[in-house]
């Protein structure tokens, strides 16, 4: 069947690495053959991974979006079971009115459940709840040999661990079950605090982590002086006022980014202007308010296809985590290099990860400070900068997030994830991705 394979992009729209074929997976009991000798398989959901971890150039993508059915919802115990392609947006629409919430929310609700597992996503509550994988009770994994494995911490536990954060490489997840968290209503009590320096950010983090379920910061690394960064610290908890449950927040209200523009809207001047405006939108030092969960968790979802703002050449997202140290020299050096290069993005996210361990073998989050930012694709100049950030990250014993990567070297990947050889034993022999081929390209050299 002819399928428009050029429609299968990643969120960063870089690289352009179309599959040779894409197969919609419609029914769990009627799967396509996964062991074809002429191609490799990779599950694909909503394409929200930024780089090439969701791409399989010249191979086959298994489009799981038609697997979008709920299977069971125990709304007493708070356990939901659904098919792989159900989006978090659909889950929220069903569970929030019944007093439940996602255990972990990423920055967009337009991701699939299987994608949330494959990337072991994290959110503003990592310091408290860990990753999404910490809340998964079981899932079905179909391997290319036709076996159907029910993976949980107790059954096929090794495959369970390998698949959480396993980038879709261990087989096809067809359904998953996970625990929800109870809420009183659909609102978040949030507090916004302006900070002028990295030290102030770290002090706010230390002060907030115990009492606030959600913390995250927007940071501006171009406009700050000696303080390294300035920005806005956001912390919040689910509102507990039961009577407010009677007022469901209005849904919808999104606009679509209207066009593909030549060049890019995001350059040094616009970023600086945006950051200054964003910084000064908050005149008082501190704002306390109650807001619907949507704008708190998913502010960018209000602009559908915002990634088109970077133009046809696409953009890079870069997220690293480095351990917290006395002087935090590594994160300061990262900021210094970004500023020196004159590159930067309107969305710079800063957060500290907690110590809760994910079951995922290849899970990205680790205790420390994490920084995520966009970079318009200016070719070699941007790639050189990111490579120089990798050098800092490697030296600091940090990691870069594969779900957001399109360019890290095999040597970097293998330094960040020394357990990758152990993981490779669980990769399905008929599954692969552009990312996986790239970061294991020199596997024979034993870079690990």
């Amino acid at each position: 069947m002819p399928v428009n394979t050029s429609a299968y992009r990643s969120w960063g729209r870089y690289p352009d690495a179309p599959p040779a074929d894409a197969i919609p997976v419609r029914w769990r009991d009627n799967l396509p053959a996964l062991d074809r000798p002429d191609t490799t398989m990779l599950p694909y959901g909503y394409g929200r991974s930024y780089g090439d971890s969701c791409l399989n150039e010249g191979g086959t993508l298994l489009d799981t979006r038609p697997l979008n059915r709920f299977l069971a919802f125990d709304d007493v115990a708070g356990v939901l079971r659904c098919e792989a392609g159900v989006s978090l947006a659909e889950i929220l629409a069903v569970i929030v009115p019944r007093g439940w919430f996602l255990p972990v929310s990423p920055g967009t609700k337009f991701v699939s459940v299987a994608g949330a597992i494959a990337n072991d996503i994290h959110g503003k509550n990592h310091h408290d709840a860990g990753t999404f994988g910490c809340h998964v009770t079981q899932f079905e994994l179909v391997r290319s040999d036709g076996t159907r494995r029910i993976c949980s911490p107790d059954t096929d536990a090794d495959l369970f661990r390998a698949t959480i954060g396993g980038l879709g490489l261990t087989g096809l997840i067809t359904w998953a079950e996970f625990r929800l968290k109870p809420i009183a209503n659909a609102y978040i009590a949030e507090e916004l605090i302006r900070f002028e320096s990295l030290d102030e950010f770290l002090a706010l983090t230390a002060e907030s982590d115990a009492d606030y379920e959600y913390t995250v910061s927007w940071a501006d690394c171009l406009g700050a002086g000696a303080g390294i960064v300035r920005g806005q610290f956001m912390r919040g908890n689910h509102d507990t006022f039961k009577a407010r449950a009677a007022y469901p927040p209005k849904t919808g209200g999104s606009v679509r980014f209207p066009l593909d523009i030549p060049g890019s809207l995001i350059n040094r001047k616009t970023v600086r202007a945006f950051n200054t405006l964003y910084y000064w939108r908050q005149l008082p030092k501190r704002i306390v308010r109650v807001v619907p969960y949507g704008p708190f968790f998913y502010p960018l979802d209000a602009i559908l296809e915002w990634n088109r703002g970077y133009g046809p050449q696409g953009f890079f997202q870069y997220q690293l985590v480095v351990p917290l140290t006395d002087r935090n020299a590594a994160i300061k050096e990262v900021f210094r290099r970004i500023r020196a290069a004159g590159e930067g993005s309107p969305v710079v996210v800063l957060k500290t990860f907690g110590t809760r361990q994910s079951p995922g073998l290849m899970s990205f989050p680790a205790p420390g400070i994490t920084l995520a930012m966009d970079f318009a694709n200016h070719g070699a100049k941007t790639l050189d900068l990111l490579e120089s950030l990798d050098a800092v990250c490697r030296d600091a014993g940090g990691r870069v997030y594969p779900a957001k990567d399109a360019r890290m070297s095999a040597a970097s990947f293998q330094a960040y994830f020394p357990q990758w050889r152990e993981f490779a034993a669980y990769v399905d022999p008929h599954f692969s991705s552009s990312f996986w081929r790239r970061v294991t390209a020199n596997a024979g050299e034993g870079a690990a």
Binding site: P2, P24, L71, A72, V94
Partner: protein, 245 residues
């Protein structure tokens, strides 16, 4: 809360429409050929809020089995507030041209069996003197095109049948709704390259639900198809027969 019969419930458009009813807390009676797929769809609709779901596996081409299915709806729910007939096959036109059996099979599924089921449903709804019968037709039924006239003729036949039925049931207070979707991005059109004319099944389902709730006579969905089809119907036959559409 309402009770709704959905025939062809595992189709993408029917499932999306059923989700809207489920969210409103309806009780659903779901009919389709494949029992496993039906069970999956039913479980989904229960999670989404359906008070109750009943499933009934049936090959709709088996006309003799229709009465037993309708009796089962009565046994389960007493009366029905609405029925949506949403099954059909987008056959291979070339295969139909080459084979009488293929043409008759297409016709039986898309026309004869639908008309048979409507005959029984009409009497059931006439007797209860209320409710809505909705049928998913197609813009293909508006005019015979050389690229899919077997499918189009079957959909057109059903539309003419519905037009008459609407008049007959008017006095009984029963609404008869003809739904004419344009191109919809569903498994049925999986082999067709998509363009801007293709609508999402969710959007089509919203239109169907709204038309059923308000008892509209005929709707096109998305609505712009009304204007496209008005133009297509207006082309004089000597010209139309030469068009490659």
């Amino acid at each position: 809360m309402s009770t709704v019969l959905i025939v062809g419930a595992t189709s993408a458009i029917a499932h999306e429409t059923a989700k809207i009813y489920a969210k409103a807390g309806a009780s659903l009676f779901l009919v389709a050929r494949d029992a496993d797929k039906l069970a999956t769809v039913a479980a989904d609709l229960r999670v989404r809020g359906a008070i109750r779901t009943e499933t009934y596996a049936l090959d709709l081409a088996d006309i003799a089995a229709h009465p037993a299915m309708l009796r089962a709806t009565t046994d389960a729910y007493g009366t029905l507030d609405a029925a949506l007939i949403a099954y059909g096959t987008l056959g291979d036109q070339a295969a139909c041209e080459a084979s009488v059996d293929e043409t008759v099979r297409e016709w039986t599924t898309n026309a004869t069996s639908v008309i048979a089921l409507l005959t029984l449903l009409a009497n059931q709804f006439a007797a209860q003197k209320r409710g809505t019968i909705a049928v998913i037709g197609s813009v293909a039924g508006d005019r015979g095109r050389k690229s899919n006239y077997v499918y189009g003729a079957a959909k057109g036949a059903v539309e003419i049948f519905l037009s008459g039925l609407r008049g007959r049931l008017l006095a009984s207070g029963v609404a008869v709704v003809t739904i004419k979707p344009g191109f919809v991005d569903t498994p049925m059109t999986a082999g067709v390259p998509k363009n801007f004319l293709f609508a999402k099944p969710e959007a089509v389902a919203r239109d169907i639900h709204a038309a059923m709730e308000t008892g509209k006579d005929t709707i096109y969905t998305p609505g712009f198809w009304r204007w496209i089809m008005r133009i297509i119907r207006a082309v004089p036959e000597p010209i139309f027969k030469k068009l490659s559409i």
